[in-house]
């Protein structure tokens, strides 16, 4: 490590756990506590503001779990390295074992913490992106993160009307406007299979926001969404599936 200390952000919903990690990190040479917070929702803006090298992230937190936080951080251009902390979470640990994601078991040992932080500090941005997204199969997010300059903006999935794929990006249309995200429509479809349905090759629509399915033109159909004036074209191939989802809701 160079002269600059390794900055660490600590995220844990329990006060004693936060205090202990804070003390341990502060006592490690070459490390400094950049910030401490108690929830995933607080952590995301803090990462943008403090730009820490490593986030020590508790997995089991109320609201947004650590795993979801990690996924959102993956959307950043320079994501921090993530080291998960957990007291006991068989299911999460199993999934990480094959991946290079760091995790620490609470109560955390000083040596292990030192090792994990050192390892994390050596990771390069591309590796970090892989780490953050390697948690993808583990979680259905409740928010979708949008990068606005260096900060993350969270859009609740419930407010999203549709995802539309363009050449390189995916447009997220939601109740408060439109944003671009850097994810694939295919993965989004898999993750949100419960709430969203394909309308055509490049359009994924929230079932809950659909107002009606109407005839449009000669043989085509179009979807009307609540709060949207413009109808969305439906491909013939998706029509049957779409009908099924609409009657089943």
């Amino acid at each position: 490590m160079s002269g600059l200390p390794l900055s660490v952000l600590i995220v844990d919903d329990e006060l004693p756990a936060r205090e202990r990690l804070e003390r341990l990190v502060a006592e490690l040479p070459g490390c400094a506590v950049a910030g401490v917070c108690s929830s995933g929702a607080d952590a995301l803006p803090l990462v943008g503001k403090l730009n820490p090298s490593v986030v020590l992230l508790d997995i089991r937190m109320p609201g947004m779990t650590g795993i979801e936080v990690a996924r959102h951080l993956g959307a950043l251009e320079n994501p921090p390295a993530i080291v998960f902390t957990t007291a006991y979470d068989e299911y999460a640990l199993e999934a990480f074992d094959s991946q290079a994601v760091g995790y620490l078991l609470k109560p955390v040992r000083r040596e292990r913490l030192e090792q994990a932080l050192k390892h994390a500090s050596r990771l390069k941005p591309p590796q970090l992106h892989v780490l953050a997204t390697s948690t993808a199969p583990l979680v259905t997010r409740q928010h979708v993160a949008v990068r606005v300059r260096d900060e993350l903006k969270l859009i609740p999935v419930k407010e999203i009307r549709y995802f539309r794929a363009d050449q390189k990006y995916v447009t997220v249309r939601h109740t408060r406007g439109e944003d671009l995200i850097d994810e694939s429509l295919k993965q989004l479809e898999e993750e949100f299979a419960r709430e969203f349905v394909r309308a055509h090759r490049s359009l994924l629509v929230a079932v809950a926001h659909i107002e009606s399915l109407e005839r449009a033109g000669e043989e085509g159909y179009a979807l009307k969404l609540r709060g949207e004036t413009e109808p969305l074209a439906v491909s013939r191939r998706q029509l049957a599936e779409l009908r099924k989802r609409l009657t089943g809701r």
Binding site: D13, E14, L15, P16, A17, E19, R20, R23, S39, R60, P62, G63, T65, A87, Y88, D89, Y91, L105, K106, P107, V108, V139, T140
Partner: protein, 388 residues
Amino acid sequence: MSKTGAIEPTAEASTPRTTLVPPPRPNASVAGSARVPSSPLDASLDAFFIPDFCAPRMVFAVVLVAELVAVTLALARPDAAFLSELARISMFLQWVGLTSAGLLCYSRRRLAALSVVKSSAAVFALMLLNTALISELALWLGTAFGAGGITSTLFPSEHWSFLLRNCGIAVIVTALLLRYFFVTHQWQKHLRAEAQSRIQALQARIRPHFLFNSMNTIAALTRSDPRRAEEAVEDLADLFRATLRDSHSPLRLKEELELSRIYQRIEALRLGSRLAVSWDVAELPMRAFVPGLTVQPLLENAIYHGIEPLENGGTVTVAGRVVDGEVEIVVSNPVAPPRAGAEERTGNRIALDNIRQRLDLAYGGRGSLTVDRQPERYTVTVRFPYAE
């Protein structure tokens, strides 16, 4: 012997009932067998497969069975007058039955010390001897009070054939009954062992999540607040002692509630102001018995599933009262918004099943656990008989 025998026989006395009525529903028997260990005074007697014939219910069963056999035998002789035949056979069989029961009652303790084969052989010998003796007695009475007239039909005349036929019947009936007792006993033993091992396995499963989080809390407190760390260690020790205790000895309600409060204290250390528990248990009889770890796991569930997932926490309420001679304890918690992770539901069900099973073991179907799932609140109600 007869004294202990008369006190302990709850389950054994229920065995002969099955000779008269159709076999009981399996779970009813589980309950019956589960109550057996109430007398730890004499384990070997408890484990003996021949029931205690000193128990009033057993004696009654013997009388009833003897009478049924008498009716059967009388019916099987169409050429004799039914009533006089019945009277003759009944008198004889009741003699045999009651004296046999008496013999078994007095020899049970000695028989229990033997192996299954040896004790069965001994029972055969006893029964044969007894039947032969009673048969001889009947013959003697027959000749002593004169032959001919009415008495000639009441008492048998062909000595050897009478004796041999009776011994034959005795052998068959004894064999059947021994087999019956043995099989029933094995079955009950099996059920009991199974229930016990399951309970122990479940009890051993104190939630690891809780254990490691508590350890972490203590690790944090040892430096920042050594005094509280010390208390937390003491609390944790008490809690684990209770978990490791013999599952059979019930607790006083006072102790169980104390354990729950200890648990709450440990959780409060890490959850802080997010956790509030409102106790409304002043009406509960603190001396009442409760199967160990009934209230505490409910509180644990309420905190794990209800409070922890809520960012701002919430209040768990524990309320208790006595209704119609039953203790009722209600634990309710706010419902957290659903999260990805169906595995948490299963964990909850295991804990509830565990409590249910323990209530079943302790009260034989008279304890109950019901769940009321509302959109806003999740409520579990436990009821069990009030016993001091």
